[in-house]
């Protein structure tokens, strides 16, 4: 199964999750996702997701001047974003539990 198809459904949640403890700029967020194991995630997907979450009012942004290179736009969770993360996280856990149970029942190795 192509993980890019799965990613489409959960990229919002993944982005919100990596921003939970620490604000980040676009490329930084991409790197955290890849380091976390989502290696197939595309740059445009992350960038587009950030723009959409921002437009939906889940993120705030602020600009930090950089000594080497362009100014960086940092994204941070706001209250609505944390709320969304909590709800989506619950949904995912229950969904994943359901899927794991389904596979366990049929004797599939983890």
């Amino acid at each position: 199964m192509d993980t890019t198809q799965l990613l489409k459904g959960v990229l919002d949640l993944a982005v919100l999750a990596v921003l939970r403890d620490q604000d980040g700029y676009g490329y930084d967020i991409l790197r955290r996702l890849r380091e976390a194991g989502l290696e197939d995630v595309g740059d445009a997907s992350v960038y587009g997701t950030l723009r959409r979450l921002f437009a939906a009012g889940l993120l705030t942004t602020y600009v930090v001047p950089s000594e080497s290179g362009p100014h960086r736009k940092y994204y941070a969770l706001n209250a609505a974003g944390r709320d969304q993360l909590a709800r989506s996280g619950k949904t995912w856990r229950s969904f994943a539990t359901t899927m794991n149970a389904l596979l366990d029942d049929r004797g599939m190795a983890a």
Binding site: S45, Y47, A55
Partner: protein, 341 residues
């Protein structure tokens, strides 16, 4: 960083072109941070943007999907048709860009033109300086002038070039109205300065003609009267009474003519012996006329025969004006002393 700002700007342009069917608002929202973001990507690793991110069109498609932005139904069909046409044209231009590149020995024409951008900045600065100079009512020239001063013009030129280079470094990141303003300004600049340059070119050609002096090769001047007789010691003046200075008095045999002092007044011809159409008409009473050289008379003299000629044998006193012909000269060897006998 191995990726230039221009490459990023081009990449962003193509992403925006691929999103042309979105409403301008949505498209701007999606791409307003893209240059900065791509600069981060470029700073992190080597290789071109296309190597790392795929084609701008693929990037745009992924971005569109991730951002949940699809064609907006509220857009008019005209808008969509325009966007589609814009897309088609830019696709064709890109194809042309790649097709014509090999003619120049490059992968694409834009790759050939990209390193020439600083040259364009210099040229633009110079054109701006010319325009400012022209708007100040200075006559057009290759160097700008300011209030008639070349030095101030050079300062103006230096300032304009520096400003143009500065702008060139920053304009790659321009989006929205600053970019349109820049394009409009460039178009206006070319519209005003190109005719000026053509004008200048024409003037240069006219000057070239006026510099050529058709009398440059003239060394001496011979004035003939209507009878074809050479007029000695003629003076030439223009309509203002200014002596016309032609040739140079280099001839040694100035004879009994008044010696010009400081070149003035000038008497032509300087060298009567070099007359192209026979010798000079003798002065009223030459003391000892030289035997006339057997020089054939030119057409003008022959057409107007000297009326004095037939009378020469019977009236030697009238010999003076007849010296122009060789036959008369032999018949009257001593016309001068006759009256004194």
């Amino acid at each position: 960083m191995t990726v230039s700002g221009q490459e990023i700007a081009d990449y962003v342009d193509r992403v925006r072109a691929a999103l042309a069917d979105l409403s301008p608002k949505v498209r701007d929202e999606l791409t307003e941070d893209l240059p900065e973001h791509l600069a981060e990507v470029a700073a992190e690793a080597d290789g071109t943007l296309v190597d790392r991110l795929g084609t701008p069109e693929a990037y745009a498609a992924e971005l569109r999907g991730a951002a949940g932005a699809d064609g907006h139904p509220e857009r008019s069909s005209l808008d969509r048709r325009l966007a589609a046409a814009h897309n088609r044209v830019s696709t064709q231009l890109r194809a042309l860009d790649t097709q014509l590149g090999p003619l120049l020995g490059y992968a694409s024409v834009s790759e050939f033109l990209r390193p020439l951008r600083p040259a364009w900045w210099l040229l633009r600065g110079w054109l701006v300086a010319l325009l400012v100079s022209a708007l100040h009512g200075e006559s057009p020239g290759l160097l700008p002038r300011f209030d008639g001063s070349v030095l101030a013009g050079l300062f103006l030129l230096a300032g304009a070039v520096l400003a143009s280079v500065w702008l060139g470094h920053r304009s790659a990141g321009f989006r929205g109205w600053p970019r349109w303003l820049l394009r409009l300004g460039t178009a206006a600049l070319l519209l005003f300065t190109v005719p000026t340059l053509f004008n200048l070119d024409q003037r240069a050609n006219v000057q070239l003609v006026s510099v050529y002096d058709p009398y440059e090769s003239v060394q001496d001047v011979f004035v003939y009267d209507e009878q074809g007789r050479l007029i000695p010691n003629a003076q030439l003046f223009d309509q203002h009474g200014t002596p016309i200075e032609l040739g140079s008095p280099t001839c040694e045999q100035s004879g009994d003519r008044p010696e010009p002092t400081n070149g003035y007044p000038r008497y032509y011809p300087y060298c009567p012996d070099l007359a192209p159409f026979g010798p000079p008409a003798p002065l009223p009473a030459p003391p000892a006329p030289l035997p006339a050289p057997p020089a054939p008379l030119p057409a003008p003299s022959a057409a107007a025969p000297d009326p004095a000629a037939p009378t020469a044998s019977t009236s030697p006193t009238a010999a003076a004006p007849t010296e122009g012909t060789s036959t008369e000269a032999s018949e009257s060897p001593r016309p001068g002393p006759e009256p004194t006998r």
